[in-house]
């Protein structure tokens, strides 16, 4: 039987969260192979060869990131980004809860590749149960000699720690995450320098998403060339798509990168409830530019190159489906409320701009706006773009700008309401 899952393996193998079961299915052999048979650079090379790209949102090549680690500055750290705070994203949680060892093995291999002796898993505060669970799994690894000193009889040693954040969206951004991990306010740092040259406590640090790291054992076990056979040429490998919104079967779906929206939504997700028509798609959670659900869009492969071609981003692949009953003004209002709430306040355009946009969209949604208010909302969003310190500021404008450009009629209807009400 061909394996159905490479990342969500618990769906095929019961009890894979038990160390014995995981090991029976080849678990930690990749880590052993890396430590005992490969040099750190060879591990990095293999990951480079695989074409693996970051699953946290930006799609940055993982092997390349590891190769940027400053080898003149020690110690090195690895940090797993388990903040998973993009609305509509719930894949990392499933991986950590159900297939924890594959993720932890990925952390360990990444640590070996960059010669880090300490790795941290940064989880959003709401994941306290997941953290406790991972602590148990880490303890089991230690007891089994898979973490600690002199691993596999070599002089390599590694320890993994979990750390809970206090629950802020921005702490998923890697430099804010590092600040928070250091015990400071979770606010992004100016980049460059990037974490591989200036990371945790100012030391070279690799920050990778949970899902990204969960791919790594497969790559070391079976080789980068094998990995490339999955997915598309530039977007290789499997991806867990978090599907939510107006679909009959929401949930996580592990599919090769390059699967179309149509296949995800209609085959796997079972289509739209009540036979209603699909109106729009947010491919990357609340940070998405909203796509109208045209045939062209539905037939677009979900990979890092194709989604931008139709005017959005794949991001963390949290696909939110919106049906015809939804007013896009309402949707944009929801995203703006979120970003106003989550703006960390460090930089001017995002801090002031999200506040302003949130007020404007409320005025619009309440049917009190003038045509000029629409113009101002659009301008303010444009005015934020490209000027903020981190990407959150830009994220905050995505739904507004795309919504107003692509669903203009919904906005104009609101202004008409206002005009009518005003007599």
């Amino acid at each position: 039987m061909p394996e159905k899952h490479l990342l969500l393996r618990h769906r095929d193998i019961p009890d894979i969260h038990e160390l014995e079961v995981y090991r029976k299915h080849g678990g930690f052999e990749a880590f052993r192979k890396a430590v005992t048979q490969m040099t750190p650079d060879e591990v990095t090379e293999e990951v480079k060869k695989s074409g693996l790209r970051g699953r946290g949102g930006a799609g940055f090549p993982t092997g390349l990131k590891w190769s940027f680690m400053d080898k003149k500055n020690w110690p090195h750290y690895v940090v797993a980004n388990a903040d998973e705070s993009e609305p509509g994203t719930f894949k990392d949680r499933e991986i950590m809860e159900r297939n924890p060892f594959q993720f932890l093995e990925g952390v360990a291999i990444a640590a070996y590749a960059v010669q880090a002796n300490r790795a941290y898993i940064y989880l959003r505060g709401e994941f306290w149960q997941v953290a406790a669970w991972l602590d148990r799994k880490i303890a089991e690894m230690e007891a089994a000699g898979l973490l600690g000193d002199n691993l596999f009889g070599t002089d390599y040693s590694l320890r993994i720690y979990t750390h809970l954040g206090a629950g802020a969206y921005i702490c998923g951004e890697e430099t804010a995450l590092l600040e928070s991990l250091e015990g400071k306010r979770g606010q992004p740092r100016i980049r460059p320098p990037f974490p591989p040259s200036y990371g945790l406590y100012g030391k070279p640090t690799v920050v990778n998403n949970v899902e990204t790291l969960t791919n790594v054992p497969l790559i070391i076990e079976r080789g980068g060339d094998w990995y490339r056979t999955i997915g598309t040429e530039k977007s290789t490998g499997p991806k867990v798509f978090s599907l939510s919104g107006h679909v009959n079967r929401p949930g996580n779906y592990e599919l090769p990168l390059g699967t179309t929206f149509r296949e995800l939504i209609f085959e796997h997700g079972g289509g739209i409830p009540g036979g209603r028509a699909i109106k729009a798609i947010l491919p990357a959670g609340a940070s998405s530019a909203i796509l109208p659900a045209t045939d062209e869009v539905l037939d677009t492969p979900m990979d890092y190159e194709s989604v931008p071609k139709v005017g959005s981003f794949l991001g963390s692949a949290s696909v939110i489906v919106v049906d015809e009953t939804v007013d896009i003004v309402w949707l944009v209002k929801k995203t703006l409320h979120f970003f106003h709430h989550e703006s960390c306040g460090k930089c001017t355009p995002c801090r002031e701009g999200t506040y302003w946009m949130d007020h404007l969209i409320q005025t619009i949604a309440e049917g009190r706006a003038t045509p000029q208010d629409l113009e101002i909302l659009y301008d303010v969003a444009k005015q934020i773009q490209g000027k903020t310190l981190c990407a959150l500021g830009d994220f905050a404008t995505m739904a507004v700008v795309s919504g107003m450009e692509r669903f203009r009629e919904d906005f104009e209807a609101k202004v008409r309401e206002a005009v009518m009400a005003g007599g």
């Binding site: 802020a168 921005i170 306010r185 100016i190 106003h340 709430h341 989550e342 703006s343 960390c344 306040g345 460090k346 930089c347 001017t348 355009p349 801090r351 002031e352 701009g353 999200t354 506040y355 302003w356 007020h359 101002i376 301008d379 005015q383 490209g386 000027k387 903020t388 310190l389």
Partner: protein, 824 residues
């Protein structure tokens, strides 16, 4: 010399040191890039986004690494797709910056529009109005109007005291983080923080007591809006109503360069009065900072103290007003009769010109020049002090600094700052002190000793065996600071000798950027030593035997009841002061002097930099400047002294005092372009430190540089004290109850209200004392009620007694400390 980088900004080529930001490089190219969060003294954070510019770099061929060239041979420039913050962009060779494009202009408008959406725009009642970077930059780059409706405006608290000295207006804060970074990076008191997030981000203080730092006032300078104000200046005056007078802080031996802002003051009957103290840039001294003591107490004593307004003479046992003529004639006659029986007791609060005249007059009569101080060693700072052209900013990698017996931040805050900055640049810092102090955070070597055993430290350092001793000996430059921690005259003299010996035997003496610095108790103690004043071992004994005693700017009776008693022995007592001090009340003649803010002169700071101060406000009717009083007196005693102006006085002094040879006021007035360029003439830095147009001062040559032979002194004998029981040791705290600071209402809540002492927890236990207990401290025949503060950083077996906080202690002595049982 650091590496230089050439780049092009708006078509102009500039060459600046590597490591500079584009914002600073642009200043040199005379291109203005507006900033809010950036400050060249602080780490860049890129928060406000005001400084967005287009940044291009020469394109390199991926394969060869060669620079790609256009057809005309010029390097091909590739611009970043997004605008970049110039404050976080460091200069690179061949970089091209564009600040005049439509895109950049648009971005500035956009950012300003955003900033103003949350700003109250209450400029007409804002203290920063008129010197506000936000106003300036809005005028220069902002949109003319706002599209933000008033109904969306967020209203926040307008009066949030961050502490006793600083008040925050939350609405005005633009969240640039400068104040937070200043406290963390410069002051190293990270007591401010941002709290909350998004638009609901506020500045808060995290310390108890709130905003607990000696540096808090500086945040109000660098705050680019009127969000932070001092309780001293808040709602007092508008910037454009004031005129300026350059001066020096006179509260410690740093001699910070300051500017008095002056206006007529209705509360003082329309007199011209100082409204506030601002730092004046002098990168050799205080950079652009001053401590809170200087800011909030440098002039109050003169302006608000109960000043003497006319000469007084004693008649039938009582002081009565007299004319200057009568008073001076009485004094002249007494001095003539006393002849060599005259003792002049002066303090280092006086200017060089005053002290020079006093010295000449005293010499003329064959009298004795006595300096009122507890710290010795001034001959040695003259011989092997910091050399000419010395600059603490030049100390770094390869250099070493020894700080001995000094709680540097408490004794001379700016020296603490300069020393820690040198350590941060890589200088090896050795700290020798019986207890930990703030400067120790940066120490490479800590030499802990027992109070009274300073000699042991020096024995080891002079033997040269220890790691610390070798680090000092090997250093390219070596600076030694010694201070006031537990030292008295005899011990400080020995410390100075030992330090001089080390400097001379290791070949450091006489080099610029090497030498000895005494952290003097008074601002011009160095000048007083230079003019020939010397402390005496037993002042009481000396006073008891004088025929005529001339006390100038000193108050022995107020300082110590034993001296008050000793004064009874003086046949004739003349006091020249601002106030009717304890000593003045016992005088035969009292001569009213002008305060330093009412006249000019020079002070020599502990780095031996001679600096000038200027008259700031018209003197009150009556008092005269000290040098002129002395000259008038001298005339009656057939001696011709310069009494017309301090310029003339300084000329006379420079003709006679070797270290000052040939110096003129013109030399002191020398200025130069000082980096960073944070002058108020730049829109972004209005309301901050004043530029220095009046003179940076001159470092005196030491004796070695003057060509005198200076032989290393013998390794000194340190006084040995045999005592039993508890030892009381005097230390210095910045906030005391000294006569000068006592008149500041502003600083009052930060000053100690009552006498207190520090003891270690185990000592407190042994004595049966709790923290905060009231106790009786018995020193010889005197007893005090003191508050006991238990402090784990204090060594056992000693009671640390702050100077000038109610307990008289000039030398370590055995004492008793007993619990006071409260009467029930």
């Amino acid at each position: 010399m650091s590496q230089q980088v050439t780049l092009t900004i708006d078509g102009k080529q500039v060459t600046v040191p590597a490591g500079w930001t584009v914002v600073d490089a642009a200043r040199v190219a005379n291109v203005h890039i507006p900033v809010f969060c950036y400050h060249p003294k602080l780490e860049p954070v890129g928060m406000c986004r005001m400084c967005l510019v287009e940044v291009g770099l020469p394109e390199r061929d991926r394969a060869t690494g060669e620079i790609v060239r256009n057809e005309d041979g010029s390097p091909k420039i590739r611009f970043f797709p997004k605008l970049q913050t110039a404050c976080t962009t460091y200069v690179q060779e061949g970089m091209v910056i564009r600040t005049t494009t439509e895109q950049v202009a648009r971005a500035r408008k956009d950012i300003l529009e955003f900033l103003l959406t949350s700003h109250p725009l209450d400029c007409p009642i804002c203290d920063k109005g008129g010197e506000c970077p936000l106003q300036n930059l809005t005028m220069a780059y902002g949109p003319g109007t706002s599209r933000f409706p008033y109904e969306y405006k967020l209203h926040l608290e307008k009066r949030v005291p961050l502490g006793d000295l600083i008040i925050l207006d939350r609405e005005r804060c633009i969240i640039c983080g400068r104040c937070v970074r200043f406290q963390a990076e410069i002051a190293e008191d990270p007591v401010l923080s941002l709290d909350g997030r998004g638009r609901a981000t506020y500045i808060i203080t995290t310390s108890d007591p709130p905003f607990d730092s000696y540096w808090s006032g500086n945040t109000t300078d660098i705050c680019p809006v009127g969000a932070l104000t001092t309780t001293d200046f808040r709602f007092d005056a508008r910037p454009w109503e004031m005129h300026q007078a350059a001066s020096l802080c006179n509260l410690c031996p740093v001699g910070c360069n300051i500017m008095f802002d002056i206006r007529r003051e209705p509360e003082l009957g329309g007199r011209f009065a100082v409204q506030r103290v601002m730092p004046r840039q002098n990168e050799y001294v205080n950079e652009i900072w001053i401590c809170d003591k200087g800011r909030f107490a440098a002039y109050h004593f003169a302006q608000y103290g109960e000043r003497l307004t006319q000469p007084l003479v004693r008649e039938n046992g009582k002081l009565r007003p007299a004319s200057w003529r009568e008073a001076l004639e009485r004094v002249a006659q007494a001095f003539r009769e006393a002849g060599s029986g005259l003792v002049t007791l002066a303090s280092g609060r006086l200017s060089n010109e005053d002290l020079f005249n006093l010295a000449r007059l005293t010499d003329h009569l064959g009298g004795r020049k006595v300096l009122d101080t507890f710290l010795a060693g001034g001959e040695w700072t003259d011989k092997v002090g910091l050399g000419r052209e010395s600059d603490l900013a030049a100390l770094g990698e390869g250099d070493a600094i020894l700080v001995m017996a000094s709680d540097l931040e408490e004794e001379a805050p700016i020296f603490w700052l300069r020393v820690k900055e040198a350590a941060q640049r890589g200088a090896t810092l050795v700290v020798a002190n019986p207890r930990p102090t703030k400067i120790e955070r940066h120490a490479k070597h800590v030499l802990r000793y027992v109070y009274g055993e300073e000699g042991k430290v020096w024995e080891a350092l002079l033997a040269g065996a220890s790691e610390a001793a070798q680090a000092l000996a090997r250093a390219e430059n070596l600076v030694i600071f010694y201070g006031q921690e537990g030292l008295d005259l005899a011990t400080s003299d020995a410390v100075a000798r030992a330090a001089a010996r080390l400097l001379l035997t290791t070949g450091h003496a006489g080099k610029p950027n090497s030498g000895l610095v005494a952290v003097w108790p008074r601002n011009n103690d160095q000048g007083a030593w230079d003019m020939g004043f010397r402390p005496v071992a037993d002042l009481a004994d000396t006073l008891r035997q004088v025929k005529a005693l001339y006390v100038v700017a000193a108050d022995p009776a107020g300082d110590d009841p034993h001296l008050a008693a000793a004064l009874e022995g003086a046949d004739f007592l003349v006091v020249q002061d601002l106030f009717l001090t304890e000593t003045a009340q016992r005088a035969d003649v009292v001569l009213p002097a002008q305060a330093y803010i009412e006249r000019g002169g020079t002070y020599t700071n502990a780095l031996r930099r001679v600096q000038r101060f200027f008259p700031a406000v018209p003197p009150p009717e009556g008092p005269q400047p000290d040098f002129a009083i002395v000259a008038a007196l001298a005339r009656l005693l057939d001696l011709n002294l310069e009494g017309r102006s301090t310029a003339k006085g300084f000329e006379a002094l420079a003709a006679q005092v070797p270290a000052y040879q040939g110096l003129t006021y013109k030399d002191l007035a020398r200025v130069e372009e000082q980096f960073p360029l944070v002058s108020r003439e730049v829109l972004d830095y209005t309301g901050t430190a004043y530029p220095n147009g009046q003179g940076l001062g001159v470092v005196l040559p030491n004796a070695v540089e003057r060509g005198e032979t200076v032989a290393p002194p013998e390794a000194p004998e340190f006084p040995v004290r045999a005592f039993q029981g508890l030892l009381a040791v005097p230390i210095t705290r910045l906030y005391d109850r000294g006569t000068l600071v006592a008149w500041s209402d502003t600083l009052a809540p930060r000053l100690p209200e009552e006498a207190w002492v520090w003891v270690a927890p185990e000592t407190a236990r042994d004595l049966g004392l709790q923290d905060d207990a009231t106790a009786r401290l018995e020193i010889g025949d005197l007893a005090y009620t003191v508050r006991v503060r238990v402090n784990p950083a204090v060594p056992g077996g000693v009671v640390l007694v702050p100077r000038s906080v109610g307990v008289v202690l000039f030398t370590p002595v055995a004492v008793h400390l007993k619990a006071v049982v409260p009467a029930s």
